[in-house]
């Protein structure tokens, strides 16, 4: 493989450039995936049947904690990529590890939130509203879970193989994914929670 040294490592080879563009297009598809969930959510938002409405079950504290955790993790992975571009392998791995820990904490709070919903009678099968609420949050949560494993694998590879065009490329693409999950969360935070509690 030819390597172009004038560009950051993750853009170094032709295949790397393909991977990055391909991943951006995948993110375009993800935009539509979440848009469809949002469209469904907004349609069913007030169709609560005999179950509770959003305002009755949402709690600001865990939601705010989740938001701060995810925003910070988006920041730390940004720092990780910055460190990677400076060639600082250890700093980069540390930032990635911190990101994953923050993601893990986010997931923990989300699991707490879910058990809380079930507890107050807003389980998956209660109404159209609860069904789509938990499906939408669950889809985002599943993405975060996949991200945790993926990120872990990448840290392992960087540790073992060092910063090569290949591992740098994977790390950069993972950072795109993670930032994207943060963007999705911003919309969930604004238009599911805050709109529901307004």
């Amino acid at each position: 493989m030819k390597t172009d040294n004038s560009l950051p490592l993750e853009y170094g080879t032709e295949q790397n450039k393909l991977n990055i563009l391909g991943f951006w297009i995948f993110l375009g598809a993800e935009v539509m995936l979440f848009a469809t969930l949002f469209a469904t959510y907004f349609t069913l938002e007030h169709r609560t049947g005999s179950g509770p409405a959003g305002a009755e079950i949402f709690e600001i504290t865990p939601v705010l904690i989740e938001t701060i955790l995810l925003l910070t993790s988006s920041f730390t992975i940004g720092l990780g990529v910055h460190a990677m571009r400076l060639g600082r392998k250890n700093a980069m791995m540390t930032f990635f590890a911190v990101t994953l820990l923050l993601g893990l904490a986010f997931l923990g709070v989300e699991i707490y939130e879910f058990t809380h919903y079930v507890h107050v009678g807003a389980g998956l099968q209660v109404s159209a509203f609860t069904g789509i609420l938990l499906t939408t949050l669950g889809t985002h949560g599943a993405h975060v879970t996949v991200g945790l494993f993926w990120g872990l694998f990448i840290i392992m590879q960087v540790k073992k193989r060092g910063l090569t065009p290949e591992t740098a490329n994977k790390s950069f693409i993972f950072s795109l994914y993670w930032h994207f999950l943060d963007v999705v969360w911003i919309f969930i935070f604004s238009f599911i929670y805050l709109k529901g509690m307004m």
Partner: protein, 304 residues
């Protein structure tokens, strides 16, 4: 050779019309709404015929004139990128056609979604038409009678059908009186029709709803107002009352013949009035309709 095909289509077309011997239902309207739609269809056929003829003529012209067998051995077709004038014509004419058809569509769509023209001043006859697997229940709230699988209507009077379903989505359709509309379980849809001519018409569920779908037909009879009133009187006097148990029995999946009852199921099993059945939130005014379950809310159409 493409002419063969054109000719064939024409022949089939003529055959088809002859085979029918009478005009096809949709183009043989017996009420104002069906008439409006039938006119729209004829306008669209005429307009589209221009397009079809233009394309066919051009096609025949080019394949006859420019086939290789008619050309010199050494004829070298020219390289032409395109021509702005020609291209604006092939964009411009379709745009004009589409604008024309859009105007026709928008006007007629608003027309068929409102009380039929010429009937605006009278009070429409309200009929609740509900479907269950695989039959139709017609409730006449003001007359306080109910029928199964057949529908009697007065001519020269606006009809307002309130449609809903006890099962899958169905579509209420009487081709000679007007277009169809879905009947669904969680809301009521409204269809405005009227019959100008007394007679018997075919009505059916047009939307696939399972095993018994093909036979999900009902019989429609339009008659002058006095005959209709007489029929109502007769039903009230002679038909057995519709009880809750009886209605539950009727809802069982299967096919039934024509049946007649006095009283309607609306009293004990209110229809899903209001737009967001099963919700708690109250947006401007929808709440009162939600609460009006017990009674029949004849002003409901005002919400549309």
């Amino acid at each position: 050779m493409k002419r063969k095909l054109t000719l064939l289509s024409l022949v089939i077309g003529i055959l088809a019309v002859l085979a029918g011997c009478e005009p096809v239902m949709v183009l043989d309207p017996k009420g104002p709404q069906a008439e409006t739609i039938s006119n729209v269809i004829w306008i669209s056929i005429a307009t589209m015929a221009i397009v079809v003829i233009a394309v066919f003529a051009l096609l025949v012209y080019v394949i006859v004139k420019y086939r290789a067998s008619k050309q010199d051995e050494d004829y070298e077709p020219p390289h032409i990128e395109g021509n702005p004038i020609v291209e604006s014509i092939i964009v411009g004419i379709p745009i004009i056609i589409i604008i024309f058809l859009s105007i026709v569509t928008v006007r007629s769509t608003y027309e068929v979604e409102a009380t039929p023209k010429g009937y605006e001043d009278q009070k429409p006859l309200v009929v609740y038409a509900s479907s269950s697997d695989w039959k139709w229940h017609f409730s006449y709230p003001e007359e306080n009678i109910e029928t199964v699988n057949y529908l009697y209507i007065p001519t020269d009077r606006a009809l307002e059908f309130r449609l809903y379903s006890y099962g899958p989505i169905t579509s209420f359709w009487i081709p000679q009186l007007g277009g169809q509309k879905y009947a669904m379980s969680d809301m009521i849809t409204t269809l405005h029709l009227a019959a100008d001519v007394p007679g018997e018409y075919m009505g059916r569920n047009a939307n696939f709803s399972g095993k018994g779908f093909a036979e999900n037909i009902f019989h429609v009879e339009a008659m002058p107002a006095d005959e209709f009133d007489k029929w109502v009187e007769e039903v009230r006097a002679t038909a057995e009352p519709l009880t809750e148990d009886k209605f539950a029995e009727l809802l069982e999946p299967g096919h039934l013949g024509q049946m007649t009852f006095s009283g309607t199921h609306l009293e004990f099993l209110p229809p899903p009035e209001g737009h967001n059945h099963g919700t708690k939130h109250s947006h401007e005014g929808e709440h009162d309709t939600d609460d009006a379950h017990g009674d029949v809310d004849t002003d409901h159409s005002a919400h549309k």
